[in-house]
Amino acid sequence: MAFHSVERLLSAARTQPLWEAVLNDDLEETGSDRDSSWSQMSRLWTAMKETQADYDPARRSSSGLAGGDGALLEGEGPGLCGDFFRTVIATALKAGECNACMRRIVASPTAGSSGVLPAVLIPLSRRDGLEDEIMVQALYVAAGFGQVIAARASIAGAEGGCQAEVGAASAMAAAALVHVMGGTPEAMAHAAALALANTLGLVCDPVGGLVEVPCIGRNVMGAVNALSCAEMALSGVKSRIPCDEVIDAMGEVGKLMPASLRETGHGGMAATPTARRLSDPGTE
């Protein structure tokens, strides 16, 4: 039976590492075996790294709106953010741009939010010289929290807005980061709750209905938010509202959102005069 609450996930993690609880539960659910599950998750991690290697700054999406920004974040910057932070931003942009340019990506949990997990995990694994094993474990942690969010709320922008996609990805990434840094399951839950609470109300308003603007930038926000929330949770900051209740609140906010702000391309950024001009083929 898949996890429907973080509370149950935490209680399963009392007798085993949380990532392993997620893995074992999935084996029971799907009848799959441990080796093939692990190699499938390992393939996702490898594919995330391959997307980054595949990035080409000269590539543009068919609309012409996406591409090239990731490369602008390479090399020495203006000195505002440190190297690590700058690499996180670049990685999120590159993943998002690869997605918009019809390259191979890993939906995590969706294609539109596919930049968040790679953006925090890949730079961290490189900076600290971490083994693939702990990164694959972190993906199980992310999947466990994602599963609860999908069950209690939604991970589809058309149902819950961007908070259900980038917000969910950010919460999953925050929990994954806590695992990599050796934090407790409770700290993972606090990190996920803090991250999701920060993105509550985020609408899905893609310009021209395309997964480009503002989606790619929101992946950067999701990654940076995940880092802050993991840092807070690892330092002992606790979410005042339990993770399950934050997830439920996200689901409720999604239901209250008008259709124009749920992936229809009719509201928010999509409704700006410039967006309308850009998405009208007659004037492009």
Partner: protein
């Protein structure tokens, strides 16, 4: 719900529903037809029609018809590859009754005159469901080996098919029955836990009243 419905699939962007799901619908249709179509008419309904072009839904459907997986890097150039393969493609819009918002209706024909009409819906996260074949209702995902049997609607047909499968040690996971009218043409959709061998399919075809047997195994290379 598996954790791999949350993490993954590995896919060509930009949209799991509009791109990856569309590619899978196309590929299931290709496997159901059994060969590369010479002509393919792609009709897009709902959100597929509204935002499909920007998401490469048409390219993904054609890639699937060329038997590409949703993560095949050649997906963006599928129209060129279809031309090389001698597949004539037309794309249009359609408004269907009671259809999922992300639905495609594919009308396929081969050089030797076989035809197939498949209606598929993309449910999100790359998961799909085939909702109709040749106008007859169905509901299967292609996740398990699937038999689609068209038969005369008369007593004993289901028992005969079940007998053949049990004799071949095939465990039936799900079974659905549909018909267009009493005593007319009926469809059995059977999902099984094991792959089904060609000998079993031949035995089914030899049964009296069985019109057509189509076998779908998406795991097979």
């Amino acid at each position: 719900m598996s954790i791999f419905d949350i993490m993954g699939p590995i896919m060509i962007g930009p949209s799991s529903s509009h791109t990856a799901g569309a590619a899978r619908i196309g590929r299931i249709a290709r496997r159901l037809l059994g060969k590369c179509p010479a002509r393919a008419e792609l009709l897009l309904h709902g959100s597929f029609a509204a935002t499909g072009e920007g998401h490469g839904t048409d390219k993904a459907l054609v890639a699937g018809l060329l038997d590409m997986a949703p993560d095949d890097p050649r997906l963006p150039i599928s129209f060129e590859l279809a031309r090389e393969a001698g597949m004539e493609v037309t794309v249009g819009r359609i408004s269907l009754q009671d259809a999922h918002p992300n639905t495609a209706l594919l009308r396929l024909s081969t050089a030797s005159g076989e035809t197939l009409e498949v209606r598929g819906a993309s449910l999100g996260g790359g998961r799909v469901r085939i909702d109709a074949i040749d106008g007859l209702a169905a509901a299967f995902t292609g996740d398990l080996p699937t038999l689609i049997i068209r038969n005369q609607d008369r007593p004993g047909q289901v028992a005969e098919v079940a007998r053949v499968l049990s004799h071949r040690q095939v465990n039936i996971a799900t079974m659905q029955l549909y018909r267009d009218m009493r005593g007319g043409l009926a469809v059995m959709v059977i999902e099984s836990d094991q792959p089904i061998w060609d000998t079993a399919i031949q035995e089914l075809l030899a049964l009296d009243g069985i019109v057509r047997v189509t076998y779908l195994n998406m795991t097979e290379v």
